[in-house]
Symmetry: C2
Subunit: 320 residues, 2 copies
């Protein structure tokens, strides 16, 4: 069974003098927004600084002045952004960033990045860039091109792991696995001490967790099945420092690191990324909105031959 | 400007006692067959053992007992195979193999591999496999599952190069470049001594060449534009031995090697592939039709950061 784990992601800032997304916006609004991209809210939690919604396809985090949404599968996230802009109005919108990574099966998607930025361009002027090569892992970033300048202190990180170890894949596809067992496997107590967690185990497999502590957040989404396994970790905590633990648990054959405003990316990756991984792509760019973006893809060199993967000719292979 | 260079490929054997593809089949038939996948014949040449057609999208080679066809762009090669099977009849068909590599922009294609094998399965029973990982370069192979056993002497090779050097890309996109200049750049006299050549320079750029000598063939197709550059070389000559010269000319950041019935693949790649390339994928499988297939993907490690690639938001980005 194939599931497209690859996410689209958006970050939207509003003017806090005009609007607080925490106190002025109801949960019904977020439910409607999420519905626009064909996802739904499974559960939510909050503290004084942040609300976190676990979605049928990934996650939504809301602070007073901004929200971050990630959706996977065949959702069309730009439809949710369109809803937000139409409902709230561009006058209260301070800045919008929309990001989309290359998919495993792009032809099964309702739109491509080119379609998405065409739609967004009806509402905001923007620029677009690609991080990573076309024939390899890459991420597209569209960002509004206006007076907004990101604070250097506003940092986010993504660690996207592909082809997790057979052991990890087998463990995470075990029938009847509980959320507690997955938390233990992921060592979330070590990774996220003091955080409040909200998680969900999908059937027949798949796992999502949101974690918040004060204004900090971290979210993990797992598509564990062999042949198309994918685990995304996204946070405003430093994931380069935490990469050794995450990589030890998942042992992916390949992973991407993305950071926004981590100015010490090069030094930190040299320090924390295990030597067994080879850097295949390295991209650095400062956007006109003042985000310094780094993208790196790492691979494990192969030294022995594996077998080919059998495909069931009679099966449903529309995604191939 | 984007062009999908990635090929679909088929090899079809017929029963030489019932039919010679060289003497019993007219050029009009091949023109009609090629038309079925939305390509057309540009030119042709032949010797006593082989006919070679240069197509608007890649190439067709015909011997008495078999043909090999490669088509790129948005062609739907299975439609040509369907035409062949319907016209010739399955009783004269000895064996069919259909191959498709992952595309840069799969969502711009009229069908996916799953659709293709569903269509072929209406006519022949077959098996399918994937060589290479889903999140990386990979090749799908569908082959008829019948009594046919490939001769160990029947060897074919593919070298697929991605992200050729900026210098090679610049040279090959030079306005007004002639076929003679491209032959010289590719050092075809060194690569193919004694071969007869038939080539074509596409506008604004792009190049195809067929080469034949007795029963031997080699074909090169070049999509030279930076950001999505792709060069395919396919032959029954040993391309592993010839890889050093090809890699020296193109200097790709990544390439695939595929071989059918090259039993010394491991030793030869150890001998001929330059050490600067790291093997990212290594797959070996013996098919039930007796083809031993090897697939390898190699990359150049990156040590310095490059800039992101700008995308024209107002442009035609449907392929992104």
């Amino acid at each position: 069974m194939f599931f497209e784990g690859s996410e689209k992601k958006a970050e939207v800032f509003v003017d806090p003098k005009q609007l607080s997304l925490l106190t002025d916006i109801s949960d019904d609004f977020w439910a409607a927004l999420v519905h626009c991209c064909n996802a739904r809210i499974l559960s939510s939690m909050h503290n004084r600084e942040c609300k976190a919604f676990l979605l049928s396809e990934s996650s939504l985090f809301v602070w007073a002045d901004r929200f971050v949404i990630l959706t996977c599968g065949e959702t069309q996230l730009v439809k949710s952004l369109e809803y937000f802009i139409r409902e709230i109005g561009t006058d209260k919108l301070v800045h919008l960033t929309y990001q989309r990574k290359n998919e495993y099966f792009s032809h099964a998607q309702p739109s491509c990045f080119g379609d998405d930025i065409k739609l967004l361009s009806h509402y905001v002027d923007g620029k677009a860039l690609r991080f990573g090569e076309m024939d390899s892992h890459h991420n597209y970033v569209f960002h509004q091109d206006n007076a907004f300048k990101a604070s250097p202190a506003h940092k986010t990180y993504e660690l996207l792991a592909y082809q997790i170890s057979p052991l990890a894949s087998q463990k995470l596809t075990t029938p009847g696995l509980t959320a507690a067992q997955i938390r233990e496997f992921l060592q979330l107590d070590r990774l996220l001490p003091g955080f409040t967690l909200d998680d969900f185990v999908f059937q027949p497999y798949g796992y999502s967790v949101n974690a918040i502590y004060k204004h900090n957040y971290l979210t993990i989404h797992i598509t564990p099945q062999a042949n198309s396994s994918y685990v995304s970790v996204e946070s405003n905590l430093n994931l380069i420092e935490r990469a050794p633990l995450i990589l030890e648990i998942l042992q992916p054959a390949s992973f991407d690191l993305l950071s926004f405003n981590e100015f010490d990316f090069a030094q930190q990756t040299a320090q924390f990324i295990p030597d067994i991984y080879i850097s295949k792509s390295l991209v650095k760019e400062t956007l006109s909105n003042n985000y310094q973006v780094y993208f790196a893809n790492y691979i494990l060199p192969q030294n022995s031959f594996s077998r080919a993967t059998q495909i069931d000719v009679a099966g449903d292979n529309h995604a191939l």
